[in-house]
Symmetry: C2
Subunit: 323 residues, 2 copies
Amino acid sequence: MTVSNVINGRRAKASDETVERIKAAIETLGYTPNLSARSLVSKASRMVGVLIPFTEDQNQLLLNNPFYAEIVSGIESALREAGYYMMLSGVRADGGRLETLQSWNMDALIVLGVYKERLYEELKAHDLPTLLIDSYIDDPHFYRLGVDDEAAAYRATRYLIEKGHRGVALVTGVIRTDGVIERRVAGYRRTLEEAGIAFDPARILSGSVTFDWGVAAAEQLAALPETTAAFCTADLIAAGLLAGLHRLGKRIPEDYSVMGFDNLPISRMVYPALTTVDQSILGKGQLAGKLITDILGKNDPPRESLIDFAIVERDSVAIRSRS
Amino acid sequence: MTVSNVINGRRAKASDETVERIKAAIETLGYTPNLSARSLVSKASRMVGVLIPFTEDQNQLLLNNPFYAEIVSGIESALREAGYYMMLSGVRADGGRLETLQSWNMDALIVLGVYKERLYEELKAHDLPTLLIDSYIDDPHFYRLGVDDEAAAYRATRYLIEKGHRGVALVTGVIRTDGVIERRVAGYRRTLEEAGIAFDPARILSGSVTFDWGVAAAEQLAALPETTAAFCTADLIAAGLLAGLHRLGKRIPEDYSVMGFDNLPISRMVYPALTTVDQSILGKGQLAGKLITDILGKNDPPRESLIDFAIVERDSVAIRSRS
DNA sequence: CCCCAAAGGTGTAGCGTTAAACCTATTTCC
DNA sequence: GGAAATAGGTTTAACGCTACACCTTTGGGG
């Protein structure tokens, strides 16, 4: 018991000499506490579950999406700093297989991505502190972290219009209701209204958040009359769009200006380097980790946090003089 | 006890009726076994630790490197399939902070990346089944998984030479001893010898496995006389090289042919799409997971496994007619 | 009819840790 | 000088699970 006290820094009850002796013994014996035993009695584990979606074929973590990879990396660093562990787990869109969390006595959850209603019900049933990233589920049970998607899309679209583009398409993932993408569509529309440009539904190209969809969207974009710019709601899509447009023999930014969203590392790697909306993904992950450890440390943060965004100008947008 | 038997499928001692009653009770009570307790008694955890390097600044997981992200994703899927959990953990090059593994009763380890000797000593001290990926540490304690780096580099270089290039540079990461990169350099040299081309040390550009190094290497490449092609030992470097060459106004593949290594998703995203050496990274991860679960299931696999590689032809290499 | 084996199940202990209660010298205070 | 507080521990029990030993009933075989 005294050993336990010393290890956990409850040194109220231990003479300096005993503390020394214990430390020496730990060193020579190579002792490390057994966390399973600790977790068994304390009903906690200092483990935070991080849920990310599976790929379409339901078989692998969506880590090959650099967005998730980076945010996970940020989360891990913040958790580690605060002395917590991260358990990465995949979820299918419809939930299921969440028992792991309960089985390992997770202390809290961070959930990335958007899922069906059913999953959120299950999450609530587990009754753990839960932080949703990039989700607009409005329920007092959840903490939320995101960007102001409407404002960011507004600013991005306005940026293109200010460069002289009037025919701006929006290339995006699948449009559900009440999610991130919807806000971005709303921001896009607000800009058009303000600029007095009629909204044309044909200019919204909706597919999935993948490189391949971007490639495919290029043809659709090229078929749109009087369209000279595209705002993609993800860098991954924008990267595909660039590749698709190249394939069609279009020049960028001379023929088409393209903007992305996220400022992923790949946005610097494609040609031309993408002008995009930066939302410090790493910072988002780190903030997520910090929010969770704050909650666990009883420093209750606000239910909703937003991170800043900014437009980073690179080479994929050109100024278009009015014709 | 009977409940425990039923849950673990030891149904030798349970009537069909009891089994039914237990299943019903589990359902209505929403029971899930407490894995900490199980681990405490069994001294195992069905958890496999996956170690990946931290970034240079020692602060985040190197998950933003798509190579690691993808391989981790493959590992996870194989482990999950076999009913194991993955605990992702970062390591600094010099080791340290490995206690986690012991503390959670990990059953086995998968180690990605190359580290200092000291780490391998520590790993051996833990005495867990350990699989090293892409490492040439020759010690019977470890299982190893990799590609035949020498042969792959040989084939890649030969591919360029067969396309008519005689001045082929090698752009690579930092050259230690006895690692992956050294084998690739050796393969490169073997091709040159076979083709009767004098080896010129100036044509080896060594930096780090990063996009930025690729960008920087472009200037060095451009300064090399009679050099028309570059084989990069990582797609990340190749991507940077393309960007750097574009910046210098070079055309690819007309002025320079570029090959990568890994066949990462980004190799399709850059412009022009990279010709590269595919080594099915996802498959590598899955195989790693399978090897480890085989070991744990007492199906001892060979100490060393190699996966196949193949050249995938895309648009970054041109045929050069002899001048 | 008795003995034995099998089927089906119960009882006990222990994994490593910690909360809470308890114990024993000192020291402090009035 | 005596009561009370304090420092520095020790003891006990419990967390949820499983290995192992044990118990009871039933059904044959001789």
